[in-house]
Symmetry: C2
Subunit: 208 residues, 2 copies
């Protein structure tokens, strides 16, 4: 049987050291670099860094919001499951409305996906929140529409939906937003719930 | 505001059509190709297919086990959260022992990670189960050790841990196993809970 490293802390230390040695983090501010390291850790790809785009205050705003007790809004249960509760600075609420019993009816009425319809149930939580979208492009598109139409604004949006239809476009729309929304995205098709949760976890605590 | 496709079924259809057009699925048996498509869908990377390795009966065995009511054993809560319950053919139990209150003590006693220690609590569920490992290399290493030492054997192991320390090695060890374990892996660093859950979901139902 193969021998293997069994010391959890040492595994983390070596993992992050490998990422910092291999990934081209030079162009990133320190706060974004720390988030990028954890996003890379979640997907095993150091070249993810080349697709990360962000607004100047995204990480600082999200961090301040979490410290002040802001809720975390997730588009998918996997993102919510990936948020490490013990890293949260204020026992922050983690909200995912996708499974709400009203969503299928809302989706039918609005003629959209369940993921987009679930955004309607975010309205009461949006003000000053931290949004983590790791699955559905339609969630991100719908959120942008809602804010454009006057819905309350989150402190920052981590936009990492994944896939082949609308994912890249939804993230470009977020990065190009003229709504004053702070954002962090992974351009292109790549993304996913693990990367979104990793970004949130990195912002929630500076512990590596 | 950008216009975007809002018909969920059509988004799925176009996504899978894009993957089948772009991914090199030619070398795969039909059952594995169907699983590969859904794994690619979960990560946005058509070149994932080049790293997929499998034993001949892995998908068929896992499918038969699920139809017969086998439990699904997941190393991480994110994997468990990603299993689409309505796709399961026999209301199969989804087991994740990582959060069990006995795990920290077990990890200290066994001098290993919590992810590896949590495998000890799988023993009563292992026989004929379907294993989906999407996070921790130490879970996969420990599982192989346990089976090598005589623990009951699962029907198949979906081995998709991710990362920089031990991930590639643990998957190579699974693919090279001489225990007669049926397996499906993603070689190298790539993997993760979304890909593991997608593989399980593809096996659970033939519906795209």
């Amino acid at each position: 049987m193969t021998s293997y490293l069994q010391d959890g802390a040492e595994i983390y230390r070596r993992s992050f050291a490998t990422i910092r040695a291999e990934a081209d983090l030079g162009g990133l501010p320190a706060d974004v670099a720390r988030v990028a390291v954890r996003m890379i850790h979640a997907c095993g790809m150091v070249d993810l860094v080349r697709d990360i785009a962000f607004s100047a205050d995204a990480v600082a705003n999200a961090r301040a919001a979490l410290l002040a007790g802001a809720p975390i809004l997730c588009d998918a249960t996997m993102v919510a499951a990936g948020v490490t509760r013990k890293r949260l600075p204020a026992d922050n609420e983690v909200v995912c409305t996708l499974g709400d019993s009203r969503v299928p009816h809302l989706a039918a009425r609005l003629e959209t996906t369940r993921s987009a319809a679930a955004m309607e149930l975010w309205r009461d939580h949006l003000e000053g929140s931290v949004v983590a979208i790791g699955n559905a492009p339609t969630s991100l598109f719908r959120l942008l529409e809602m804010i454009d139409a006057g819905a309350p604004r989150p402190a920052a949006v981590l936009g990492v939906p994944v896939g082949f239809i609308g994912a890249a476009e939804s993230k470009e729309a977020l990065a190009a937003n003229d709504l004053g929304l702070e954002y962090l995205v992974v351009r292109g098709r790549r993304g996913g719930s693990a990367i979104a949760a990793a970004a949130l976890n990195a912002i929630a605590s500076e512990e590596e």
